[in-house]
Amino acid sequence: MRDLIIIGGGPGGVSAGIYAARKKIKTLLITDGFGGQSMISAEIGNWIGDQSISGYDLAKKMEEHLRAQEEIEIVDDDGVCVVQKIDGGFSVVTKNGKIFETKYLLITSGSHRRKLDIPGEHEFDGKGVVYCSTCDAPIFKNKTVAVIGGGNSALESVIDLLPYASKIYLLVRSEIIRGDSVTQDKVRQHPNVEVVLNATPQEVIGDKFVTGLRYKDMKGGEIKDLALEGVFVEIGLIPNSDFIKDIVARDDYGAIVVDSKTQETSCAGIWAAGDVTDVLYKQNNISAGDAIKAVLNISDCLKKQ
């Protein structure tokens, strides 16, 4: 049986893989792709050691660093769908139907975007409903769009759209915008931006492409329609933790609860790190550091046996 299976190939998983290999822990890393969430980012300015790097280049560098290690087995085209407890460890079942056994498990499977879950969203995905503003903002040149969300990613999305869209509604569900105040000012002061507070989206409207968005004004209670061609969804993240939900404790948001000293979960033998956990701050460097912390703790546990 292997000593360790790492699930995920983002900054958390890759950092863990490199440390595990250098510690000569018998490790398998399973992921359905390298790089993690910021891969789609045009510019990352806070990855320590690189003043500026694209998400794509960072993903490549991380993968190359991992592959340069001799002592690690990698499956990079498969995802984990179920984990079961077995005698002396765990068995991991993948989407391609493979089964791997391990003594210990480290989960660094990150998170994915939350969807609006309203009529029309799925139907018009790629036809005006957008989840990657960095990629698709230029398509909306001279068009009217809405960004949904009140956090930093919604504000960033507005910034991505400013050079292109002729009018941007920022629809926020609550009474305040939570995102960074400097970015907020920049967004609020721009003549092309209109902030709509207390707005809950109800339906994406369209024919071939999106033509409008219906929302409810939570203060007055009325239903209102906006004529527009793009709906940019930036309403937060959901941890990729479903495959482990029966074994480890999760919080109300589905984040795996960890001990911040060691990254251990509620189940002995399973560690978790990065965006999939209840860590307060979600960042590349934090995922890397926390995953490394987990491997060092796993290494200690292996030595004690």
């Binding site: 891969m39 789609i40 980012s41 045009a42 694209s54 998400g55 794509y56 790629g126 036809k127 005006g128 957008v130 990657c132 960095t134 990629c135 698709d136 903002a137 230029p138 398509i139 909306f140 040149k141 991505d160 292109y164 071939k208 492409f209 999106v210 793009g230």
Partner: protein, 78 residues
Amino acid sequence: MAKITIYSTPSCMYCKMAKEFFTKNNIAYSEHDIAVDDAARDEMLAKSGQMGVPVIDIDGKIVVGFDRGAIEAALGMK
């Protein structure tokens, strides 16, 4: 040789990956940056019914996103 046109934006990483895939496999392609070329944008929307990049036209077969399997199938590589 298949005639390949890729519709892209400069900040789209999946576009970059698609182009790299073609380069690696020595496959020639032409590119339209729809951030500056409005006519190409409209052409892309008409061809694909999609408002997302990359859109790749391989001899009239339309692939949306960097879908490696679909690209290989359209090129008869598999």
